[in-house]
């Protein structure tokens, strides 16, 4: 390089630096990760289907069976996170363990356990929502916005 680094404009410095970082950064094994995510995400969905069929067979409506399935999966995820098993699974499966609702439960329990020493209110209580907070904010906001649009544009 003939130009002196410091004489380059800041924007270009940033871009060149980012290019350098991208070159040095280890590339993720994309196929292996996608395969693991597919297998584990698929299996968790099958487990959900099994649980849902169980509740349907007991006479619950489809809506209630879905709610009971969500609660059961969340329970299983909270328990296996507590036992340290879910994080092992997540290390192997990446997004396959993050995207299902079990991953949502895991994202609540894991930081809450970690910050227990900060107390039951600001430790456990607050850290439960480290990730769940943003998820609820964006989810509830989006649902509210589309429902209002639906109300004012389509007048049901």
């Amino acid at each position: 390089m003939t130009t002196h680094w410091d004489s380059l404009p800041g924007e270009m410095q940033k871009r060149l630096y980012q290019e350098l970082v991208n070159q040095v950064k280890p590339r993720p094994p994309v196929l292996r990760n996608a395969g693991a995510a597919f297998a584990v995400g698929g299996l968790i969905s099958v487990l959900g289907q099994l649980i849902q069929n169980f509740f349907l067979a007991r006479g619950l409506t489809l809506l209630d069976a879905g709610a009971a399935t969500a609660a059961t999966l969340v329970f299983l995820a909270a328990l296996s996170t507590g036992l340290g098993l879910y994080d092992e699974l997540a290390r192997f499966a990446g997004a396959g363990a993050i995207v299902p609702i079990t991953g949502f439960a895991n994202s609540m329990v894991a930081p809450a356990m970690e910050y227990r020493t900060e107390g039951l209110v600001l430790g456990v209580g607050a850290r439960l929502f480290t990730v769940a907070g943003p998820v609820l904010v964006f989810g509830i906001f989006t649902a509210w916005a589309v429902a209002l649009l639906y109300h004012f544009l389509l007048r049901p």
């Binding site: 698929g42 329970f75 994202s107 356990m113």
Partner: protein, 118 residues
Amino acid sequence: MIFLKAFLVGGLLCVVAQLLMDLTSYKITPAHILVGFVAGGALLSALGLYQPLVNFAGAGATVPLTGFGHLLAQGAMEGVRQKGALGAFTGGVAATAAGITAAVVFGYLAALLFRPRG
């Protein structure tokens, strides 16, 4: 057959998330994935695109977090049908109450009962 469809669709949704994390130069964390999937699911649902996937794949579409967004949006829209604009404020959270309450209760209990490892 529903199990095979659940496996394929549930797995594919996870592959989409994995590729977003592995193939984009931006730093996409699991938190971004969860937020994006819930909001994306709510949008697809409002456009009428998500219910067909639920009909096809059952838990394969409802277990991933896009299904949570779908339930939020459908609840809020059903609320609007029943009581107008007020329903947009009540319907979404009501439809997802079981999952949210389970996550808070079981999450809090698990964090109290267990110690982190290592």
